[in-house]
Symmetry: C2
């Protein structure tokens, strides 16, 4: 599928509700479990998503539209949300994420026309990238972290399922 502003919007506006349905009022044993010492809990994933929502997608869209490839993107700190939102309840995190997502989709609609999608920016590591690639990454980034949350939760029962493990590929997912 090619990137498309309307098709992407259909997915992006669903993520806050999906996270709420999955995580609101979830007991701590599920919410704060991690599959390894250096892995993120479902709660931490939400902190990351909110931080990135605040500082990445729309900022980089503006950099592409205003500066093209003359100004590289500022690298993002993937774990900055952990300290920034320390102590926030999961409800507070998800409420703020939902607000920021709605704002960002509104801004995007006003800011970007289909004819802008081929414009290029400069990624500090990858070199030239297009606006369409950045905005498609926003969508896949949501799915990537939904996947991370469900695999983290699934692995809590990795031993408990016994021999059924053979039919549950998520238990081997990385």
């Amino acid at each position: 599928m090619n990137y498309d502003l309307d098709g992407a919007d259909e997915v992006l506006r669903r993520t806050p509700g999906t996270l709420r349905a999955l995580l609101t009022d979830l007991p701590d044993e599920w919410l704060h479990g991690r599959e390894a010492d250096d892995a993120w809990s479902p709660y931490q994933v939400c902190g990351h998503l909110l931080h990135i929502e605040e500082c990445d997608w729309i900022d980089r869209t503006r950099v592409i539209l205003e500066h093209g490839t003359t100004q590289p993107f500022v690298p993002v700190d993937r774990e900055a949300g952990f300290a920034r939102f320390a102590g926030w309840s999961i409800d507070a995190l998800l409420d703020r994420f939902a607000e920021q997502r709605a704002t960002n989709l509104d801004v995007l609609q006003k800011l970007v026309k289909p004819s802008d999608l081929d414009q290029q920016g400069l990624h500090p590591e990858f070199g030239p990238v297009t606006l369409a690639q950045l905005l498609a990454t926003w969508v896949v980034h949501d799915f990537n972290h939904l996947h991370q949350i469900v695999k983290t939760m699934a692995k809590e029962y990795g031993d408990a399922v016994g021999p059924w493990r053979a039919y549950l590929p998520i238990l081997g997912a990385t």
Copy 2:
């Protein structure tokens, strides 16, 4: 984490709402996309989940409680839901799934005590399994199919993300 009736209930009762948030009113291009000819679309996954919800978990729980290892489980047809629910809207599928899930959790609560969890049944392929293993599999089966849905949707933009693919492990997930 060991299997626990209350902890599992916390997850199982969230799945219908999670699927609704993710899939209700989703355009057909996302809902019916498949990553390969023999792979399932998000819509097909929901048909599978509903079929399994109707015929697997509670039936097998009863077989274990009533017959122990003297009567093997009847194998389930993983794709039977595709024909059975052909033509149903995604809303109808998800409504029926939510009803069946609520009924099943209610039945489970009345049927099973913590002291029953070590009881054994006979899986036609694996041999002896415990009730706790069956019920833990119910939970991980939900996550496995949520994972399948999000990876299927993510891969629609597998090319569109360009070089960001390197940072999105879901695009290589099986």
